[in-house]
Symmetry: C2
């Protein structure tokens, strides 16, 4: 008998991928320009020009043995030093290179962190709607994922529900802001309240609770009013899982990091656990060329104004057509209320209008669909009549 | 409580890394040129010129969104198709793109494969001396690693011992040829005998046994006489774990693949298990730029004549000084008989002569030390008097 959990996981393609594959087929049938594919969270804006320049320079002018050689498992010291310095400057923290562990992107940041923290039978809490792989990652690490529904319509944390979900088994809480799929950003008040509640719970049970902040969309916040605090300044037992996939439009290159808050008492054990988990999972080191790259362009971003314009266009149009949309402050997702109770049926009906939308059920939150607007502005404009017709079909 | 297994794993640096760090300190004290560091298996020869040319071309002339975007989880179809075609041409197999799963290097190939195959309580057999991470990877996947000692002096498989180790719990056997740390290549007879024995055992127990061939050193075979058969032509339930780290001198870039033999009955389940395990461990896809790279240079190698010359120089000199060396046909390691019973004490004494050698104990095989000769020919020559003096100190 093979490992049935993993065989099953490999056979059931995620519904997002399923929809994407349907879209490819449909485009072949009726023409690329006639299908409005909002299924994937794949950046549509190219990497900033500094990426190309830095990659060219590294390849032309570095010693190949060093450039392509192993780095230490936690990443090249100079790279980690630069990143720590940047975080300190920007968020007034006191990290050093040895608080940073370079990874192959956000998924690796999460699996490594979870494998460092949890033991069989522990619980990991997250807020629904949530990125579906949190469940896969938590379960592989031996924990149960407990999803706490957000407040309806605002999609901020529902503290009464969170309180009820916390238990002596809670080892960690994963927060994801800006959120995939809701696009919501947790404001300062919300984050402070979350940290206070976790501290209180820890005090009561005597068990530490780690706050894992999954931040691939950190740079994709569109409204100047939004100033979410850096989690390390609010909570000692915090770990930031970062990825350059979205900010630098490098999702296929797998580069990111884990930053462990050195304010926590057991810092050295947690960091050691991360090193050990990275080793056991088979991540020898993050790709060296891309480590060297981010050491040069860590403060750059792709042109995110494209996403902001897409959001504004879509938000305005959908409002006019009678849709209810969760107020989105970041990422590149709109979470739109389904026009019928069953959001899977709604997403299915959308396909008749060649609109590919992902049912919220896949994110642990029925009644909504996710619209990934990391698409070309031209396609977005072409799709508006389809959104309109879909709404009218429900009148 | 954190995950103690991983915390411990992160705290205990491998003795190889420990020795490497000692070397760095020692070089700072007495000068780089006076320390003879044979500790790490880090390629010393640069990547072939085709690598630089292909990387430059990809970066200059590709669309950045596509070049740095996600590929499918198993890797870009065209890349997999090229690799399957190359394997077919070279080894007369009948693989297609969907037999190949691109990975972040050999370690990832192994952890993903093990997590696809094993269940809690299964056993994985390997042959000592062996790469120490096999134990870490097997245990994380839930299996026990059973090490079967090789024949003394020849370091070929000891079939009587293997027979005794096989049980109903045996899920997989990991073979590694050319071998790290012995440098030994298993010849055709040995491989055929291994396959026959595993088939016989499977037939008896009714339980499939998978043969995992860990082949990062496949291209590093120095003697024309050696023609090891491709494992897929001998055994249906075989899985090849490959990495371009050593052949293309790209160890830090993390690029390799898993090839699953489509001759096995349960092929689609095994491949699905690999896809599922890759997902659960947090490998979203292998780095896209390096996938595209290997699709262009899969048949190139770094200049391995440097390693062959190093081996010949060292072999001749050590023989003259009275050392006994396992006959090495590949990789870039010599396995040298310790001049005292305790090989740790021997490696410790070698440090007095500024020779950094790894005790065989770390590879599950005391009584020997590993000499990694992926070093500059100049350093190798400078080190010879130290090897001589070390031998003389035992007279």
């Amino acid at each position: 008998m093979l490992n049935e959990t993993n065989v099953k996981l490999g056979k059931v393609r995620s519904s997002i991928r399923e929809l994407f594959e349907y879209g490819k087929k449909r485009k072949a049938e009726i023409g690329e320009e006639n299908v409005y594919d909002f299924s994937l969270g794949n950046p549509s804006v190219p990497a900033p020009p500094e990426v190309k320049a830095a990659l060219s320079d590294l390849i032309e002018n570095s010693d190949a043995v060093a450039l392509h050689g192993y780095t230490s498992a936690q990443g090249d010291f100079k790279v980690r030093d630069k990143i720590a310095g940047y975080i300190n400057k920007r968020f007034a923290t006191s990290l050093d290179a040895d608080c940073i562990y370079m990874t192959c992107g956000a998924a690796a940041s999460l699996t490594i962190t979870l494998n460092a923290l949890v033991n069989e039978g522990d619980e990991v809490i997250t807020f629904a709607p949530y990125f579906p792989e949190y469940k896969v990652f938590s379960e592989h690490a031996g924990a149960k994922l407990v999803a706490v529904q957000c407040e309806d319509e605002t999609f901020q944390i529902d503290f009464a529900k969170l309180k009820a979900a916390l238990s002596a088994k809670t080892k960690a809480v994963i927060m994801n802001s800006p959120n995939n799929p809701s696009g919501v950003v947790y404001g300062a008040e919300c984050v402070k309240k979350l940290c206070a509640l976790l501290k209180e719970h820890s005090k009561k049970t005597g068990e530490p609770v780690y706050l894992i902040s999954d931040e691939p969309y950190r740079e994709l916040v569109f409204d100047d009013g939004i100033k979410a605090p850096y989690i390390m300044n609010c909570y000692d037992r915090s770990i930031v899982c970062y990825s350059y996939s979205k900010s630098l439009s490098l999702p296929g290159e797998r580069i990111g990091y884990i930053a462990v808050n050195n304010a926590m008492e057991e810092f050295s054990d947690v960091y050691a656990g991360i090193c050990g988990a990275g080793r056991a999972l088979g991540f020898v080191c993050a790709p060296n060329l891309f480590q060297q790259l981010v050491a040069r362009v860590y403060d750059k971003t792709a042109d995110i104004s494209v996403y902001k314009n897409n959001r504004d266009t879509l938000l305005k149009a959908l409002g006019e057509y009678g849709y209810t949309v969760v107020k989105p402050d970041g990422a590149f997702y709109l979470f739109v209320k389904s026009l019928e109770k069953d959001s899977k049926a709604f997403a299915e009906r959308a396909k008749k209008y060649e609109l590919l939308l992902v049912a919220g059920d896949d994110f642990g939150c029925g009644g909504y669909v996710r619209v990934s607007y990391c698409v070309s502005p031209e396609m977005l404009k072409r799709s508006l009549p389809a959104f309109k017709a879909l709404a009218e079909s429900y009148r």
